[in-house]
């Protein structure tokens, strides 16, 4: 860490290279919650109309810093200087009056109300007991949309819109009313596709043209590199410094955020002569995918990459028996199988870790232990059909603590208290406890920060080394490129190419995927 702090790229906050004074400055901010020091002497400044990224792993203090800026929390120490005037803390109202608008990750929209009503909802709040004026609200919404040069269906219910459009609604709402000067977006790109990220980027540049600064929180390195002008990196509650993005590269930024040096090395092509564990030929399901052939050997990590809607998830669900194909054959260990239900797939020792681990993979309020053994309960029963406590404990100890090193002192904590990366490990434990031969990982790192990501892939590598056949599905090119022995690209329901990671570049892959 000292090495990083003394780096030549460290830039003093307060004075920027162009000598411009920041319009918001936070100086020496400290905040503790009980015994936890969330922020330690953090200084942070935002200049007018800049695009600034706040980066750091989960729990590094990003959200606390934003909440201090928005007036939700008062700092224990330090000052917030707004246009030269120092404040010991801000109230939510004062923060908004100054023009700070926060767009939370959940967007905080009303799914049951129209776009216009969502954008102009402030109209209802100002004076509650009065006739609502739908015309004025529509006009207000129309005006903001024109300012952003976008067009949204004003009468549509927000709940019917795709996430990307909802995000635009949230941005429009932030611009209504009090003159916004800074828009803070908490992980705005977490659930967007690449094209949608580009559209969001265009909006952010439009805001910049109108003199509005944007601070966005992200841990997707690619995005920080393409969107931000400056980046402030927090780690363990401390500010490691503010950097010009043009002076950094991806690896360097990854190092700053995690404190680890990542060597991203490409895997050697898998040259096993063993028989495939999973063979698929001519697999077709009307309207989803067609004529898919693939082979997966024990110990191999096969990357499957494609856009959302390319058919990748549908194919994965078919291999797990949850989406029976219309025609084609699946062989497991040389024997043809008919996977009509997921119970059948589990019997064939196929495991599937879903894309949406929160809703499909885990029962959030239940304990780590219960989540781990839920898939193998029938194997843990004793003579009377009751659960054998000792064998249960053994299973949990083996997977949670010895194999996957979930960071917890007890397996009796509810899963929802764990970080995203640790939750993902619990999902993996649950499936590994079934002793699979084939493991399908569908976008295993969505919403997981970069440090935890590295941890998960370490586990995946170990599992492959022990002879598991792994199908890794993702829409992040670098992830598949550095993590697989072989890469299949899927587009519009078809496999359009097979690539050797050592003989293809990220750029080439992108072109095939988005062609």
């Amino acid at each position: 860490m000292t090495e990083i702090l003394s780096s030549s790229q460290r830039q003093e906050t307060g004075t920027t290279p162009e000598g411009e004074t920041p319009f918001i400055e936070m100086r020496g901010i400290s905040k503790r919650f009980g015994g936890v020091r969330a922020l330690i002497d953090v200084s942070f400044s935002i200049r007018a109309a800049e695009i600034h990224c706040l980066a750091g792993e989960n729990g590094c203090g990003k959200s606390t810093l934003i909440k201090i800026l928005s007036g939700v929390h008062a700092p224990d120490e330090g000052q917030i200087i707004l246009e030269g005037k120092p404040h010991s803390h801000l109230s939510p109202a004062a923060s908004q009056r100054f023009g700070v608008q926060i767009i939370y990750q959940d967007l905080s929209l009303f799914p049951n109300l129209s776009v216009a009503e969502n954008i102009a909802f402030g109209h209802h709040v100002q004076t509650p007991v009065r006739l609502a004026d739908p015309k004025a609200m529509r006009k207000q919404a129309q005006a903001v949309m024109e300012r952003l040069k976008i067009s949204l269906p004003l009468e549509a219910l927000v709940g019917t819109l795709p996430i990307a459009t909802r995000q635009l609604v949230a941005i429009c709402r932030a611009l209504v009313g009090e003159q916004a000067r800074l828009i803070v977006m908490d992980e705005p790109t977490a659930s967007l596709t690449h094209q949608e990220v580009d559209a969001l980027l265009a909006i952010i540049h439009e805001l910049k043209r109108q003199g509005i600064a944007t601070v966005f929180v992200s841990h997707r390195l690619d995005e920080v590199m393409t969107i931000a002008e400056r980046v402030t990196v927090l780690r363990d509650g401390r500010n490691l410094g503010t950097y010009w993005v043009r002076d950094l590269d991806r690896n360097r930024l990854g190092e700053l955020i995690t404190g680890h040096v990542f060597e991203s090395s490409l895997k050697a092509p898998f040259s096993s002569k063993v028989e495939p564990m999973l063979e698929v030929s001519g697999l077709t399901r009307e309207g989803q995918y067609a004529d898919v052939d693939l082979e997966l050997r024990p110990g191999e990590i096969l990357g499957l990459i494609g856009r959302l809607g390319s058919g990748r998830t549908e194919l994965a669900l078919s291999l797990f028996g949850m989406n029976p194909p219309d025609s084609g054959a699946i062989r497991v260990n040389g024997k043809p199988v008919h996977l009509r239900t997921n119970r059948e797939a589990i019997r064939q020792k196929i495991a599937y870790v879903s894309e949406d681990r929160l809703s499909l993979g885990l029962v959030m309020p239940q304990t780590i232990a219960d989540n781990t053994v839920v898939s193998v309960l029938d194997r843990l029963t004793g003579p009377l059909g009751l659960i054998d406590g000792a064998r249960r404990a053994q299973t949990i100890d083996r997977w949670i603590f010895q194999e996957l090193h979930v960071k917890t002192n007890t397996a009796d904590r509810p899963v929802q208290q764990l970080s995203g990366g640790n939750q993902q490990r619990v999902v993996l434990s649950k499936w590994l406890a079934t002793d699979p031969r084939v493991l399908i990982l569908d976008s295993p790192t969505v919403g997981v920060d970069i440090g935890a990501k590295a941890g998960i892939f370490q586990v995946v590598d170990q599992l492959a080394a022990r002879g598991l056949a792994i199908l890794l599905i993702s829409d992040e090119v670098e992830e598949v490129l550095y993590q697989s022995h072989r890469i299949l690209v899927m587009r519009s329901g078809q496999i359009v190419g097979t690539y050797d990671p050592q003989r293809v570049s990220e750029q080439e892959l992108r072109e095939v995927i988005y062609a």
């Binding site: 939370y104 929209l109 009303f110 799914p111 402030g122």
Partner: protein
């Protein structure tokens, strides 16, 4: 994309249209089977019979839209009604006093609900079930379960406006006021917002405590008025007369398309829900069907309606997914 929205909106419309269709079919069947079904006297007494239910339903609808639920309104109606009747019997009074007492007591008890829900951060269903038991037990304890029969004549005499009976007039006014509140007043729109996404409502600066008090107070207010109208209609106050109506009213409101998850519901749908239940129960009575099978048929209709709505929503979602891909 635009066609997608209109089709989503159509689900709400479709629900009303579906209900209307079922109502028409039922009415045709019952009028064919029983001559007295479409007779003016039957229709008028039908309207009168269900006006108390409609008044209570209006209060419940507002609570449901806000994302809560109120099970205690029938108990509140019984308490307010009893307080009002006791004062009228002992000290006399006039319509203003009667109205003020009944509605005022209803609002008061409703706000007690709101405060408990807000400060205990408890589920509204638990709080209002407890309060229902509590209010009713107190009423029975204090009154010994005695009924009041000697209500003043001015109170029990038949009243009407242009030939429309008093209960129907009150129900009509209540429905119009609720319609206006929910669709035109800003506070009504805030209630929809609160039901749709409470966290967002908080972040937008809505006064949550105020809204809760308003919503449960409104439900209590409606309960008070319902108590008054019911006492006027049956010319007596029996402490346990209104108890047990909660689920009927809830069923009618849900049948009318209101969501138990909050944020969704309309006055028009609610009215259709009540009309459907009313026609069904009245028709079966006229056909001489035993009152025990009421529950059977009512339960079945509600189940079918709710599953139709759920099926439509699921179908819609599937289409959206397909669309997105």
């Amino acid at each position: 994309m635009p066609d997608q929205h209109s089709s989503y909106k159509a689900v709400f419309h479709r629900h009303d249209v579906q209900l209307l269709g079922i109502i028409v079919v039922m009415a045709v069947i019952f009028s064919a089977l029983s001559k007295s079904f479409l007779s003016p006297s039957n229709l008028v007494s039908l309207l009168e019979n269900y006006s108390v239910m409609a008044i209570m339903a209006a209060g419940l609808l507002v609570v449901l839209i806000s994302g809560g639920i109120d099970i205690s309104f029938a108990a509140i109606a019984a308490v307010s009604q009893y307080v009002m009747a006791t004062v009228l019997v002992r000290f006399g009074g006039n319509w203003l006093v009667a109205f003020g007492l009944s509605a005022g007591f209803g609002i008061l008890l409703g706000i007690v609900n709101a405060l408990l829900i807000y400060y205990l951060r408890a589920l509204s269903v638990i709080v209002t079930i407890s309060m229902m038991t509590f209010y009713f037990a107190i009423l029975m304890f204090v009154t010994d379960g005695k009924s009041l029969y000697n209500l003043p004549d001015w109170f029990t005499d038949d009243l009407s406006l242009f030939g429309i009976p008093f209960p129907v007039v009150v129900a009509a006014i209540v429905l119009l006021v609720t319609l206006f509140l929910l669709s035109r007043l800003s506070i009504g729109r805030q209630i929809y917002g609160l039901g749709g996404n409470p966290e967002a409502a908080k972040r937008m600066g809505c006064n949550l405590l105020g809204l809760q008090c308003f919503v449960y107070g409104y439900s209590g207010f409606m309960a008070g008025i319902a108590g008054l109208v019911q006492a006027h209609r049956v010319e007596e106050v029996v402490p346990n007369a209104l108890i047990g109506r909660e689920l009927d009213v809830l069923a009618a409101v849900v049948l009318g398309g209101a969501s138990l998850l909050g944020g969704i519901g309309t006055v028009s749908g609610m009215v259709l829900g009540i009309v459907l239940l009313a026609i069904l129960q009245n028709g079966l009575t006229l056909l001489g069907v035993s009152s025990y099978s009421f529950g059977f048929v009512t339960g079945l209709v509600i189940l079918m309606s709710v599953s139709a709505t759920a099926y439509a929503a699921k179908h819609q979602q599937k289409q959206r997914v397909r669309h997105a891909n």
